[in-house]
């Protein structure tokens, strides 16, 4: 954790400040992604802004269809250009990625910015050895000979704690377990020492004990390399353990943005409150879970005003107007007319 230098200062505002000194790696402003298909237009991401700083982990949380994965694919310019229209600004170390030619993006991806996907089974090519696939990345971006690439690749496997990496290098993905494949993916993503790592549900397909190992590993490697990480997940437990800052997405918009400490101490958007309440508790038995009624809105025709209003118990007339993402307390933003929410209860 980046805050360990000052063990006595643990208040949320201090935590936020600790990260503010670090240089900005990625600055996303008003990102909008629209898909057109058969005359239907869906705005999957609607005006998302955030920054990621060196050595920090930003978690993007949301349920299926909230736009969190599309956001990450838009940053990497991995969306199909014929159907996705992207607007806004994505500045990576001062370069505007949305204006870069494709060839420049290919040079960046795998080198300065890398991505890990959810399914370690499908993101490795079954017909090439692990070593060939890692070498491919290194040789694409570094002026290494094949022998040098292999040496570097084996060192990466050792770094992610794969036992007997020399033997594993010559094996095929099917010879490895799920946890080991995900570690190969991490080794491959980190092979060129990227400034930015986007991890899209990196532990969702893994068992809990392996998930714990992978999360520990990502933290440890971040300490060594100082990479900025965007962690995309639906799992609030993973957010709590593995990130510094959070944005919560609902129906394509950021509805809450703050430090992890603030989010779990007292969330300021009703959707986040509902999400937290719907998690089964481990320290006590409650009879019923908090369920958010209804379902996410149809993104082809998003409701006007607040997009959560139909499912919100705190709805008022004002909610028919679109709320802005406003700062409620220092560094804690919420897109809700009724925030601060603690004023709603005695």
């Amino acid at each position: 954790m980046s805050i360990s230098t000052a063990p006595t200062e643990t208040s949320p505002t201090r935590l936020m400040r600790a990260g503010e000194g670090a240089p900005t790696v990625l600055d996303v402003r008003d990102l909008r992604v629209t898909f057109s298909n058969d005359g239907r237009t869906v705005t999957a991401v609607d005006g998302v802004s955030f920054t990621v700083r060196k050595g920090r982990t930003l978690a993007i949380v949301g349920e299926s269809g909230s736009g969190k994965s599309v956001t990450s694919l838009a940053i990497m310019r991995l969306l199909p250009e014929h159907s996705a229209r992207i607007s806004g600004s994505v500045a990576f170390e001062g370069r505007e990625l949305l204006a870069e030619p494709k060839s420049a993006m290919r040079d960046l991806r795998g080198d300065r910015m890398a991505m890990i996907f959810q399914e370690p089974m499908t993101s490795l090519n079954p017909s090439y050895t692990v070593g060939e696939q890692i070498n491919e990345v290194i040789l694409r971006h570094r002026p290494f000979t094949k022998a040098q690439a292999t040496e570097h690749g084996i060192a990466m496997l050792r770094l992610v704690r794969i036992p007997s990496p020399e033997q594993r290098y010559a094996q095929y993905p099917h010879n490895l377990s799920g946890g080991m494949r995900q570690r190969v993916m991490i080794a491959m993503a980190l092979a060129c020492d990227p400034e930015l790592l986007i991890a899209d549900e990196p532990t969702t397909a893994l068992d809990v004990t392996i998930q714990a190992q992978v999360l520990d590993l990502m933290r440890e490697l971040q300490g060594k390399t100082g990479a900025a990480i965007i962690l995309i997940t639906h799992d609030l437990g993973v957010v709590a353990e593995a990130s510094d800052d959070v944005i919560v997405m609902y129906a394509g918009q950021v509805v809450e943005q703050c430090s992890v400490e603030d989010l779990f101490t007292f969330p300021q958007h009703p959707y986040t409150v509902g999400l937290l309440g719907s998690l089964p508790r481990l320290d006590e038995k409650r009879d019923r879970l908090v369920a958010i009624t209804g379902t996410v809105p149809d993104m082809a025709e998003p409701p006007s005003g607040c997009r959560f209003q139909a499912r919100c118990p705190f709805r008022i007339e004002k909610c028919a107007e679109t709320p802005a993402l406003a700062e409620i307390t220092a560094g804690h933003f919420s897109r809700c007319w009724r925030a601060p929410l603690e004023t709603l209860v005695p």
Partner: protein, 378 residues
């Protein structure tokens, strides 16, 4: 509600020393060369009205055990009793009759509904196969079942693709309820759903249990969900039960190092300043189930392993309370650190905000019921 006399007196499902091994490799002449022991010498009983959870990581045999419990597959060894009758070698026809007592719900609500049938037809299918309800009464019964799972009866004519994942899982539950079972085996029934939808389905399962006196076998890898719903928990590792006890025993006083490691690996949605200290992690990966380690199967990954662990057998040590575990040296393990216990202190005001969501859910359910009443009656 529909517990038969046999089931009311004893366990609904009982498995005695069941084992199941699959042949994974054969010689050219069909002689088995390699076997995978998916479930190895397991005994369990499901009492009426209780929820028994089976937890463990992928490959531990929990789903195979679930299938053995309703005898969807035949055990290699041991006995399976459903509603007091030994069904281990029962004929296909008699088994179909007996299967009425136990129904199964799968993980993927997209794969478990036939896309060519309306959901009304889907739910009516068990009624027809089991011939429980006369044909003229079936639409009425389907409407009742839909209401029971919180769907409007007029949706009966729709097809599965018109429903969301959570709604489909409700349809699957309605189909499972159709033959009036005593028990439902839920195999990762909520794992594919988003958390807010998962909460809706878990609440529904609990309500149905209260209303109908159902027993559940709840197979899951998600310990948070298990803690919420289970009365008793069995923890499996590589085909063996390593610990079984009440939910309070398993979560409050875990004995086996594997159970402790599982609990310490759960991520907790709490502020970082309140996160618990990290207990010992398991190291390495799951060994191949084709050649499980000798002795205690956990010894290759256990932080407390000692040389003797390579030769001990994994018989359960049963305490007077019924809490049983398979660690030969559990009495000598270091006591569980107070700091590693799970604590999620919550702001009282936040609890009040949760209350507002609960009130809204109750109100929505009430108004939906009021609107549906004339339809269901007519």
């Amino acid at each position: 509600m529909n517990a038969t006399a046999a089931a009311a007196s004893g366990p609904i499902i009982e498995v005695r020393n069941v084992a199941k091994s699959f042949v994974v490799k054969r010689s050219v002449f069909g002689r088995p060369l390699a076997r995978l022991a998916a479930v190895d010498d397991v005994s369990l009983a499901l009492k009426p009205g209780e929820t028994l959870a089976i937890v463990g990581e992928s490959g531990c045999g929990k789903s195979t055990l679930g299938r053995l419990m309703m005898r969807l597959i035949e055990p290699t060894a041991g006995q399976v009793l459903i509603a007091g009758r030994d069904v281990t070698r029962m004929s296909h026809g008699a088994m179909r009759e007996q299967r009425r007592h136990v129904q199964l719900i799968f993980q993927d609500p997209y794969a478990s509904l036939n896309p060519r049938l309306t959901i009304g037809q889907t739910i009516a299918e068990p009624l027809m196969l089991q011939n429980i309800v006369p044909a003229s009464q079936r639409p009425k019964r389907v409407a009742e079942l839909l209401e029971m799972v919180g769907l409007r009866p007029e949706l009966a004519n729709r097809y599965p693709h018109e429903f969301s994942g959570g709604q489909r899982q409700r349809v699957v539950i309605a189909r499972a309820l159709a033959p009036e079972p005593d028990a439902i085996i839920c195999d990762e029934a909520v794992s594919a759903l988003d958390v807010s939808i998962q909460a809706q389905v878990l609440n529904l399962l609990k309500d149905l249990q209260k209303r109908l006196g159902l027993a559940y076998v709840f197979i899951s890898h998600d310990l948070g969900v298990v803690k919420h719903i289970a009365d008793r928990v069995a923890v499996m590792y590589l085909g063996k039960i390593v610990e079984i006890g009440t939910a309070d025993e398993i979560f409050g006083a875990p004995r086996h190092p594997y159970t402790r490691a599982l609990l310490s690996a759960i991520t907790v949605a709490a502020p970082p300043s309140l996160q618990r200290a990290r207990a010992a992690r398991l190291h390495g990966d799951l060994p191949s189930p084709l050649s499980p380690p000798e002795g205690c199967r956990l010894h290759t990954r256990c932080p407390h392993a000692r040389p003797a662990c390579q030769t001990v057998d994994m018989s359960l040590d049963v305490e007077p309370s019924g809490h049983a575990n398979a660690c030969a040296f559990w009495r000598e393990l270091p006591p569980q650190d107070e700091a590693s216990r799970i604590r999620e202190p919550r702001n009282a005001k936040l609890e009040l905000l949760f209350g507002a969501f609960e009130a809204m859910a109750a109100e929505t359910a009430a108004s939906a019921a009021a609107k549906d009443a004339p339809v269901a009656g007519g």
